[in-house]
Every structure is written in C-alpha cells, then in structure tokens.
Symmetry: C3
C-alpha cells in the first residue's frame, strides 16, 4: 500500500496515539471555490478543526500518491488551474500515472478509511441530480457512503441536487442520515429545511456514541451528519432556489453534463447571487469543520 | 459486539450444536398487524417453526440491544404503540440511544447473520414501490439481500409494490429468486402468479442444497425463496389489485410517503377488503414459517 | 469450494507460476453466436490469447461445477441447444442441480476471481437497457464490475444498450472505464465514438500498472478496458443504429424481455444487417482477446 498512500507524520502519530483527527477534502480547493478564497478557506478549515481540539488532515493526490495531511504549499499547488477532480473511479489511473488530483467526497472517504480516520468534514455531499429520470446521473459519493466507514459532517447535500431523491437513495442503501441539533435535513445555503431526517443527535458525544455502535456491530459504511448552516449566514430559500433553477436550465441548454456539471452550477450560482453563495458556502464549511472536530474529540475519548 | 447483540441462551445453544433455527421479524408485530392479532400471530409463527422441527428466534431491538430470540412478554412489549420501525440505517442510533425497535426484513437479516442463522421467515419482502420513476422509493430490503447471507422464505414481495421492477432490481443485484414448488413469483395474497422466476425447487432438501452451493462458493448475499399462499386462503386477484390501486391513490393524495407508506397501505387494504387481507396475511405467514422450518432442518442436516 | 469449482490443471499450474492467463466467457458460444461460428470463434479466441503469450481459460458450468479452462469437446457441448445462460443469481441452483450453463460476463468474472485470474476478454459488457425508465432493466454485469476484481477487456457495452446511461451507472459505482488507445468509449460495432471516457492508456504496460495500483490499494471491483473495433471491420454507425432501433421496437411489440431480450436483439440485428454484425462481432472479439493477452502478460511481468 505504501507505493500509493502517504500519511503525514503528524497525522500518523496522532492516529497511533488515538488522538482526534478530521479529514478534509481538496475538491473545494481545486474546483469548488475561486482563488484565493480556496486556499484561505482550506487554511481556515484546518484552523477550525484545530480550535476544536483535533488535528486536520487534508487529503489530495500528489505525484501519484494519496496524501493524508498536507502542508500550506501543497494547498497552493492544488489551487493552480488544471488539477484533476478525482473520485473512486479515477484513483487507479491517476495513481498509476503519477499525476496530481483533488479528491471528491468519495475519494476522501477512501483515503480517510485507509488511514484510519473516522470523521470527515465537507460542505455538502454529492447526490441524485435533478432530472435523474432522464440522465441516471447519481454521485459516486452515495455509493461510497454505503461501503466506507467514515462519518461525513456536512450541511446536507449540494443544493443543486434533488434532495428528496438523494435521501431515498441513502435510505435504500441503509446509510444513516442524522440531523445535528435538528430533525430536518440541512438544505446547504438555507435555514428553511423542508425534509425530515430519521435520526437526531444533540451533542458531539451522542454522535460519537452512534458511530461507535455502528462500527462495533460491524455495520459497514458511513454516516451523514447534517449540520444546518449558521442562521446569520443563511441565504433566502426562494432566491437560492430560483438561481439554482436558472443555472440548471442553462446547463441543460448548453449541454453541460458529467463531471463538469457540478462546478458549472456552483460557479453560475455564485454569479447569480452576486457572490452571496460563496460567503454562505464558506460559513457552512467552517461550521462543519468545527462540529467535525468536536465529534472526533468525543469519538477518540469514547474509544479510549 | 456483546454491547449491542444478545442471543437467547436456547438459540445460542442450538446454533452451537448445529441444530435448525429460523429467524422471525418483529415489524409485523409492531406495524404489520393490529392488536391482538399481532401477538397471537407471532406466537403462532413460533409454534409453526417448532412443529417443523426447528427453533424460532424472533428478532427485535430492546433497550438498545439487538435481541435474537424473545420471550412472550417481549412480544407483548413490541405490540404496544410507539415502537419504532428499525431498518439498517436506523440501527446505529436506536442502539446508541438504548431504545426499543421492531426489525424490518433488512434489520432482521443483519441480526440473523450476526447470530449465525441462515433461514428467516416473513410475509413478504419490501421492494420497488409503484411510481418509483418519480420517487426513487426502493426498500432497503433489496440491498440487504444482495449482501447478507440469509435465505428469506416469503410469499414474494408485498403486494402493494411493483413486482416486475422488484424482480428486475434483484436480478441486477444477482439475488436468486426461487419458487418453492412453483416456477412463478408468488404474489402475496393471490394464487394467480403473472411473473416467472428463474429457478424452482420442489423440496426443502433442494432448497438447502442450493443455499449450501451459494455460500460454500463464497457468493455473498441472500436468497428469496418464494412460497405461494395456500390456495384456500388466497384472495381474488382483481379485487385485491383494485383495493391496492385505491390505497396507493389515497396515499398519493394525502402525501403519505417514506416509512409511513407501507403501514398506511397495509391498513387501508385491510379496511377495503373487510379484513380479508388480514386473514390471508396470517395464513401465508404461517405457511412460510412452516416451510422455513423444513428448510432449516434440511440445511442443518446437510451441514452435519 | 472444490465441490463446485474445478480449475484445469494447465491453468492452475500457470497461475501458481505467476504466468499470464486470460479468462473467456461461454455465453457467446451458447447464446451469442450461431453454430458453427460459435465453436470456431471460441477456438480462435483461445488461439489469439495464446499468440499474445498468455494461456486462455474459457469458463462454463458443466455437470454442476464451475470449470475454468475447457477442452475442445467442452466447447462443442456448450454449442448444443438448450444450455442455460448463467449469471450471478443463477449459479447456486445450477450448481446444486448438477446442470450445465454458459457463463455471462458477471458469472465469468466470479469464476475468474475465484481462480485468481485478473484479465478477462469478451465482446461487450451488459449495461443499462434502452427504456430503463419504464423497465428498470439493468444488467448484473454492472454490479459485478463494482465488486469483483477482474479487468474486462471489451469493445464497450453491447450496442443494443443505452451507452450514456451505462457509463453513468458505472460512474456512480466507481468503476474505472478506460479507453485503450482512445479517449472515447468504444461503441461495439462502429468506429464513431460519441461518448468520452475518463481515462486512457496507450499500452498494455500502462493498463497493467493501473490495475496494480487499484488492487494494491485495496480498491475492490473491476475495470472496463474499452478497445475500439479494428477500423477495417467497423460497421456504418447510422445503419447499425437504425437496425438496433428496429430490433428494439420489435422486442417491445412482441413483449420480449428479461433474459430473452439480449439474444433476441442480437439475432435480429444479425438478420437486419445481412450477417455483417456477426462478422464485426467476431473481429472485435479476436481483437479484444489479443489485447487482453498482452495486458495479462504485462500484469504478470509487473507482479514478478
Ligand atoms: Mn455524475
Ligand atoms: Mn422507502
Ligand atoms: Mn435484465
């Protein structure tokens, strides 16, 4: 395994000592946010994890090796144009060819599990795309959640998706979707949450206890821990929905699909909201990193 | 594992001695049948398994532990209102929070595999819901069948489902669907069976031999063993279908969905058929328990 | 396992000595090609694998045992009418009942993995059927690719399928789809390739390196290595598409579905193209066997 996986010494030492570690993804650096907000946000997420008492381990592929735990210079490198977005299916070729890559939720989960990290913070998971009945476009993140033992702390699924169908898919796959301090499914940018979840925890300790029960019983796969966006950062639900609908229409008319679709929609959304979506995205990311840090701390304490 | 799983001493002893055991589910007690028919039926199913020469092990979650093998007083407790329906996704939180729960087909399969029980009797599996193209509503039972090594003896899938699509889904997942004494897929309440299955066995011995081949080869996952309802208990196919269509329409108009959908449809069906669906349900359950007992006996004998 | 699996002594010896072996399927013999083209083609495929420096191991079920590596007389036996098509779900009953069977892509992958063979050549994989939104008809080959560690060298998916949706499904499942000498997804009979793939290799060595990275990292599942049909054997894309549409319409009108669908469509296509589809099928099969042999040689060399 060592040919293709490299764990930062500080991360490896923390894991050996059963100290809390939180994985972070790199697609937000290479594809999710514009420069220089991307590097600044990546550093701020690491700081938020540290402030909660855990060690951050940002994940990416560099020179054909999965790297778990990056230096600031690595983050800058990932912020350069042209870094490939790497999901589960892309890993073999990117590794074999010695290339760089920014890891999606799915690929970051794989790396976290390989390294032994149980908690991962991101903005929102991928899911079932709007119009799936004609495209069958469903993110590999959902399949990853059904098989890889990592808790994903997020503000729900990306708002550009069909949230109801994303929840149905996760139910079919047996993936727990848990509200953190809420019994509704977080709706990414907005504070109005139309859809229920089936479980709720109100503390990092309770979240950690649930993870412990799941994996101690041998129930394979991840958990979605949904954290609503802080109220002061939330956008207006109707305005966001209108902007999303417009962006989705444009993508359809311009024939944007496949792996280009999500970056296109996020970029258009930022333009259509006059940058408000970017600020909201940054706020929820920081909040998720903080909560993930707390859960990692509680999980490590319970394991001890 | 012992924190969250408790196997009844008699069941544990039987399994150690390679004696036949049949798992039974508890959703039918808490959500499938009205009181007091539910407790009576649960006891009658246990008796039917015993009459076939096997030991029954009804499964539920009590006080945050999966229990395999229950006492009569446990069955009464599960018949009280408010017991939660627990599928794969619900297990972690229900266990961690110390609550009670009635196990679905999926969760009962998980418990059976953890305990080492290979045969499980139920009424009908969950499946692909009618209208799936707009809802993506597909039961977690189907995914469980693709990964958990338990034979599910049933009268096919619940009649409220889209049976054709349920069979397609199982085919994609590589799950054998076998007719017991028939080469048609049992249609739950009715004796007219419009859909073919791909395999047929005509004895408990042949069923057991097939299970032995599957798991000896390391082919993960379950098998659906479909047993038609006894002819004398079967309902008229057209009348049942009309009642189901009406119940499905009502659910749609009233916005009933998610985990409330199946209990709602079964209840309306009982009302619309003047209780006939309840009697048929009970008859097929008893028949399935009997056949499952026979298969468990044959399987234990072949393993010896 | 020995009750149900039998590896030809020459194949077993080669595998022990880390020498290159290529698995071949038998559905093309029993259901894919007419007699005597089927036996001739099966022998020619074995010769093409040998010419590339690897040992062929054609897979089938005979007398209730999976056989890996067949004699010429076995191929003749599989060419007789009435041999059952065996996919993952069919294996348990066919093995338990001592019958014969022709293995699909899924079942051949299972046998290859059990035997320890990493490379498999076929014509085209199964996939998402046209009209899936009303039928949910999706080949078990796609699920097999998500879980079984075998590289499938093919000319893409069978042309009768919805190729775009097949690619989406594989993406969701995290299965790498790699072009061999192309960055487009091979379109079976034709040289015009409308759909992109996400990875490209230009040599057997690069393909082998990618496989090594995948499985060394513990990433379960297969890889689709798509090889375009040799240009001189390619059919006209529009003519093929018109014939496929007609065949699909006929199948729908005649109610052909389930496991009968693919053989029906292939047969009609042969008739509608005046046999041209058969010649093209044979040409791409031979080409795939040759490339698979090269990849197996490179993979064995790298492992040494
Ligand atoms: Mn996609
Ligand atoms: Mn559902
Ligand atoms: Mn099919």
């Amino acid at each position: 395994m060592h040919d293709f996986l490299s764990i930062h010494p500080a991360v490896a030492a923390a894991l050996r000592a059963n100290q809390p570690v939180v994985a972070l993804e790199s697609t937000l650096i290479s594809h999710g946010l514009p420069h220089p907000a991307n590097v600044e946000t990546a550093l701020a997420l690491e700081a938020a994890v540290r402030a909660a008492g855990a060690l951050p381990a940002t994940v990416a592929v560099l020179d054909g090796r999965i790297r778990v735990g990056l230096e600031a210079e690595d983050l800058e490198r990932l912020a350069q144009p042209g870094v490939r977005k790497v999901s589960r299916r892309d890993l073999p070729l990117v590794l074999a060819s010695g290339a760089d890559g920014a890891t999606t939720v799915a690929a970051t989960m794989i790396a976290a599990e390989l390294a032994g990290i149980s908690v991962f913070a991101t903005g929102g998971i991928g899911g079932v795309h709007r119009g799936v009945e004609t495209t069958l476009d469903i993110s590999a993140d959902l399949e990853e959640l059904s098989q890889t033992d990592v808790a994903v702390v997020c503000a729900g699924a990306k708002a550009i998706l069909d949230l109801q169908k994303t929840l149905e898919y996760l139910e079919t796959k047996g993936v727990p979707v848990i509200g953190f301090g809420t019994d509704r499914f977080p709706a990414f940018y907005t504070a109005s949450l139309p859809l229920p979840v089936d479980g709720r925890v109100d503390s990092a300790d309770d979240a950690a206890r649930m993870l412990r029960a799941k994996w101690q019983l041998g129930l394979k796969g991840g958990v979605v821990i949904g954290v609503p966006i802080p109220e002061e950062a939330a956008l207006d639900a109707e305005a966001v929905e209108a902007a999303i609908r417009q962006a989705v229409d444009e993508a359809e008319n311009q024939g944007v699909r496949g792996k280009e679709l999500t970056p296109f929609l996020l970029k258009r959304l930022e333009e259509l909201t006059g940058g408000a979506s970017l600020a909201a995205n940054r706020a929820l990311l920081l909040n998720n990193a903080r909560v993930a840090g707390q859960i990692a701390v509680a999980y490590a304490r319970q394991k001890a």
